[in-house]
């Protein structure tokens, strides 16, 4: 292994005339030159140039004069990489060139003592490592805060949808109770039971009215609506979405050309995207890929499966390459309180689906065990 290290005095750098280059031995190249009007020969060898061959690597320089020196060293097979740095003592140091990160340095068997004292390379490696650690820390912190914030906002944002769901399901149970009361009456039980059945029926009617009232209030609740361009708000919030994913989960974007003008409630809509990304992250665990893509759908005839009217729709797809959702759960995951995560509340996808429905769109989930999960949000495009 041969390496060449150059240490230059900055003051001399501009005055060097590298007219004479002598190759002394296999292990040492010395430079004999002259400053303008002043012979520097051996006396300044160490002050001006110290070329020691240890590796078959040479360092890239930032000055023409060094290139000139290198050009004259034709007898050495040199590869120019790395940089020369300016240090506080006025010297330019060549640096260990082939190492771009502290991890690489360690893998190459290097430690700080492998570097010449004052060599800025190892300091740069340390600093870069520290700063990367800092970024990672803040990324994790951002994730925790985002999740905490999402955890607080989501229930409030979804309150109306959940009220409607609960009222609907509550009415189903009430209907079942009412029908059972009818059946009991048909069995011809003793007269003493009649008054109890009557009480049950009255309670069912009253509770049903209450459920209707809740349902009406919930369904009549209007989001604040605004027009927005999806790609723009996506980019504005990318850091939050990225922060939601761990370092080893990649977020890929595949966006269609042109703007996607939508109408809706931006915070609730962003909450839906965050929910789906959060689900993808939990499905992936430690590593994997989440891709967010957009497309435009021109629907000439109504789509009965998705309950979409003819028109133009944006399709926002979030796809993960995780383990997928078991088939028995797939049709259930957009229902409230159904969760694949055990401890989850099971409100996220239900509210995302409800949001899409309210916007005259739809939400579709495609998944099978081992093949990841794809969530498509269909939302009507509006005129710019």
């Amino acid at each position: 292994m041969i390496s060449l290290q150059i240490y230059l005095n900055e003051a001399d750098l501009n005055n060097i005339s590298p007219s004479i280059i002598l190759f002394d031995s296999d292990l040492y190249v010395s430079f004999h030159g002259s400053l303008y009007g002043k012979n520097v020969k051996g006396r300044h060898i160490n002050e001006i140039l110290d070329l020691s061959i240890k590796e078959n690597v040479f360092f890239k320089e930032s000055t023409d004069i060094i290139y000139d020196v290198v050009a004259r060293l034709k007898f050495v097979d040199l590869k120019i990489v790395g940089d020369i740095y300016r240090t506080s003592d006025g010297f330019l140091y060549s640096a260990r060139p082939d190492v771009k990160s502290l991890e690489e340095a360690v893998q190459a068997g290097l430690s700080m003592s492998s570097f010449r004292p004052g060599d800025p390379t190892y300091k740069a490696l340390l600093l870069a490592h520290m700063q990367q650690s800092l970024l990672d820390q803040y990324r994790e912190l951002a994730l925790r805060l985002t999740e905490a914030r999402h955890g607080l906002i989501e229930p409030i944002a979804n309150m109306w949808e959940m009220s409607a769901f609960i009222a609907h399901d509550f009415k189903n149970y009430l209907n079942a109770i009412g029908m059972s009361a009818d059946r009991i009456e048909m069995l011809g039980l003793p007269a003493a039971a009649d008054s109890s059945l009557e009480l049950i029926r009255q309670a069912v009617v009253q509770a049903s009215s209450l459920a209707d009232a809740i349902s009406d209030v919930a369904r009549n609740h209007k989001y604040d609506q605004a027009s927005f361009e999806f790609h723009r708000i996506l980019r504005a919030n990318m850091r939050i979405f990225e922060a939601m994913l761990s370092k080893s989960i990649e977020l890929e974007l595949k966006l269609t050309d042109g703007p996607l003008h939508l109408r809706g409630n931006i915070p609730v809509f962003l909450g839906c995207i965050m929910t789906i990304i959060s689900n993808a992250k939990q499905a992936l665990g430690e590593s994997g890929t989440v891709s967010l893509s957009t497309a435009v759908l021109e629907l000439a005839v109504a789509d009965a499966d998705l309950a979409l009217r003819p028109g133009r729709y944006a399709i926002i797809s979030i796809v993960d390459n995780g383990p997928g959702i078991p088939s028995e759960l797939l049709s259930q995951v957009t229902k409230p309180f159904v969760s694949t995560k055990g401890a989850g509340r099971g409100l996220g996808l239900a509210s995302a689906a409800e949001y899409c429905r309210r916007q005259d769109g739809a939400l579709r989930i495609l998944s099978s065990p081992g093949s990841g999960t794809r969530v498509d949000m269909y939302l009507p495009l509006v005129q710019d």
């Binding site: 502290l102 340095a105 360690v106 290097l110 430690s111 003592s113 490696l125 650690s133 800092l134 803040y138």
Partner: protein
């Protein structure tokens, strides 16, 4: 102190003194997650408060806890996301101690307001290393002794560590290798 110390101390207490001790420390010192952002700087009072509480709750001496923690710190860092940095610092005791100042400089340049100590090697012979430890903080000698013992374990060496000359904010420590 920076949050990494707090993270490490939490881990130390949980592992070495038990979860219940840590839970009591958290309760007593009213600690929140905010005190555990590893690359943020915090008031020394928080750190000292944690250590005092852990010592009090576990019925151990403050300095004893501090030394054990210093020893643990080396092990913790060597197995954390900073493992590469620990390897980069050197593969033997002297190289490692020589590198600490540079690591601390990087810490200081990265985290505003940190005050890291310096470790200068004054003398090295086959069996004896004399270092000078300088710090803005006082009372952390047991932690430093623990650190050095941790380094003994890391580099598989044995010997004694003896504080020598004490200055106002510095201390010479003699390491005699056996």
């Amino acid at each position: 102190m920076y949050g990494l110390i707090h993270l490490s101390f939490r881990s130390f207490v949980r592992e070495r003194l038990g979860n219940s001790v840590w839970e009591q420390v958290v309760k007593q010192r009213e600690l929140t997650e905010e005190a555990f952002v590893s690359m943020s700087g915090y008031s020394d009072n928080i750190t000292i408060g944690m250590i005092s509480a852990a010592a009090h709750i576990s019925g151990k001496n403050f300095n004893e806890i501090l030394e054990q923690f210093g020893r643990y710190w080396i092990d913790y860092m060597s197995n954390s996301e900073y493992a590469a940095m620990m390897s980069f610092a050197g593969s033997d005791l002297i190289a490692f101690i020589s590198s600490i100042n540079d690591i601390h400089k990087a810490v200081n340049e990265t985290i505003e307001g940190t005050k890291t100590p310096t470790f200068d090697i004054l003398k090295v012979s086959d069996k004896v290393i004399i270092i000078r430890y300088k710090s803005e903080r006082s009372g952390l000698l047991p932690f430093v002794i623990g650190l050095l013992k941790g380094l003994f374990e890391k580099f598989n060496v044995s010997g004694t560590i003896a504080p020598k000359k004490a200055g106002k904010k510095s201390l010479e420590i003699k390491i005699s290798l056996s």
